[in-house]
Amino acid sequence: MALIETDNLWKTYIMGSEHLHALRGVTMSIEKGEYVAIMGPSGSGKSTLMNLIGCLDTPTKGEYKLNGKTVGNMNDDELANIRNREIGFVFQTFNLLPRASALHNVELPLIYNGTSASERRQQAEEALTKVELSERMFHKPSELSGGQRQRVAVARALVNNPSLLLADEPTGNLDSKTSQEMMKLFNLLHERGNTIILVTHERDIALHAHRVLSILDGQLASDERVAVGERNGASG
């Protein structure tokens, strides 16, 4: 069974009398342990697709199954539960709580699933250590560099050991050197067994993945495997 299966996914935004189809029938499947990049021009529907996959939003039409469960029929609480336990989301703009320390930001998902305070602390510290930020636990986002902020976001995404790590242009706000470091981290996470879906504009970044999906105008335009030789990064 595939981890992700979508069947003819549509997402339509209604703006006044106009119907804007952000997605027009996307059908695909992603297996557990895959490392997938989604590419496409601006406005093609990449973020819309990611939000659906991440259960932040529900499709207008079509079916989406995560781990065999149909997401379309789920109520708000069930979706929240999935976001909490199954999915780790990394955003282009980091989306950290500005007033909270890195540690508290990473603890956040654990607060909402009832993990005890001491365990929260321990798991958050572990996650921060994985992204090599154990030294900066008590810093607020404003006291961290862009790359460090994004690593906090990655730690937060990983803290619950989700089945799926989603990253929507995680390097969009980072310089190229920091971006390379971030991609090394993703390669490492993939090697450790995480399923990763990553949206990017840059072919360079996309080539870290093992499979590249291209989206054009809300539809899947191509689905290519990246041969080992073409891949970026040492991991292979």
Partner: protein, 408 residues
């Protein structure tokens, strides 16, 4: 349960915005302070009146023509009643087995009282029998009250209230000096201890008491204004004693069996009940008006919460994206409101009590904290938090995660 960490989040959010939280709190504090001040002061005042009435003693009742008149109709009935006659007092003291003492008291209203050319008005002059002082809580500070002999021999002696001493005999020892009442000379034999008044006036201490028979000699027997102070033998027999007196008087005054009494019997309890009933509307009105300020405090909370929810839209989106349910967001925001109104209520209750204490302290009344008022106040503060916090909290909880995340 997960509620505890959510309360922690609520607390952190309030703490992160100290100035705003403080100002909101102030709005709530002001509301509760004003209500609590009024409630405590009223309670203190009623308590003081109650204490005053308690001086009558729980086993004493007063028989008089008038009673408490609360309507015009009643008034028309009461004026038609026969005055008491001279034998009434004796009939009561001889006929009532369960009565211990029957003292008489009568008066003229207010009179002029003079000492060496100084003239004061508004003094109650009354004639009382010697045992009056045993029934009523009136203490002698100097000299003595008039005696049985003074009464029998119709001596011209006077027992004066503290205000009279102060106004006519400042710096002098009044005992043995004379006082003129309506031109007649009396010798002062005693001074009463100061009683003080609920509203700070000295009207309770502005009196002169002379022996009953002496009074009758000068002013005649005033059946209209007779008060029979009857002390029952015990608290248990008080009701029976009152019945006995009632039967004696009905027989004496030929009241048909199917007609109500044509005289009144007053106890401290029914006077208090009357006072309570006439002041109830007034007190409710005051409390009602001041409650508006609590509601205003609630509106301040709601207003600030609405601002806070819209400012923190992105934060709410972040929380939802990592798995916060609607109920989690609702709980956090509701607790932000509740912490504010509850602590504002608590501070306001304490402050209001202290303000009330110093206010009524000015008129010599002391108050102690009332458990009921505190419990009620705190419950209301929680209620206000829920009522005014629920809407903004629901608004926060229902935000769409994607829209909230992309909110600038």
């Amino acid at each position: 349960m997960i509620v505890v960490p959510l309360i922690g989040l609520a607390w952190q959010a309030l703490w992160a915005n100290k100035l705003r939280s403080g100002l909101t709190l102030l709005g709530v504090v002001v509301g509760f302070t004003s209500v609590m001040t009024i409630i405590s002061a009223l309670e203190g005042m009623m308590g003081a009146i109650e204490d005053d009435l308690a001086r009558l003693g729980p086993t004493t009742f007063i028989v008089q023509k008038w009673g408490i008149v609360t309507s015009e109709e009643q008034w028309l009935e009461v004026v038609k009643r026969k005055p008491f006659d001279k034998e009434t007092g004796e009939l009561i003291s001889e006929g009532c087995e369960l009565c211990e003492t029957v003292a008489y008291s009568t008066g003229t209203g207010t009179d002029n009282v003079q000492y060496r050319g100084t003239n004061i008005r508004d003094v109650r002059v009354s004639g009382t029998t010697a045992d009056y002082i045993d029934i009523v809580d009136l203490e002698v500070s100097e000299g003595r009250f008039h005696s049985f002999e003074d009464d029998v021999y119709r001596r011209h002696v006077a027992f004066i209230g503290d205000a009279v001493r102060e106004r006519l005999y400042e710096g002098l020892d009044p005992i043995g000096r004379d006082v003129r009442i309506d031109g007649v000379k009396y010798t002062i034999i005693g001074v009463a201890k100061k009683q003080g008044g609920v509203f700070g006036g000295d009207e309770r201490d502005s009196f002169v008491m002379i022996p009953f028979e002496t009074f009758t000699k000068h002013y005649g027997f005033r059946g209209e204004r007779m008060n029979y102070f009857v002390k029952a033998q015990s608290l248990e027999t008080m009701d029976q004693a009152m019945d006995e007196v009632r039967m004696i008087l009905r027989a004496k005054r030929h009241v048909p069996y199917d007609k109500p009494d044509d005289f009144a019997i007053l106890t401290a309890d029914n006077i208090l009940e009357f006072l309570n009933s006439v002041t109830r509307m007034f007190r409710l009105g005051l409390v009602g008006v001041s409650s508006v300020s609590v509601v205003v405090g609630g509106i301040v909370v709601m207003n600030i919460m609405m601002v806070s929810v819209s400012e923190r839209t992105r934060e709410i989106g972040i929380r939802k994206s990592v798995g916060a349910k609607q109920s989690h967001i609702l709980t956090q925001f509701l607790f932000e409101a509740l912490i504010t109104t509850f602590s504002g209520g608590l501070i306001g209750i304490i402050a209001g009590f202290l303000v009330a204490k110093s206010l009524v302290g000015m008129i010599d009344v002391d108050i102690s904290p009332s458990g009921l008022a505190i419990t009620l106040g705190l419950s209301i503060s929680v209620g206000i938090g829920v009522i005014f916090g629920i809407y903004p909290a629901m608004k926060a909880a229902r935000l769409d995660p994607i829209k909230a995340l992309s909110y600038e």
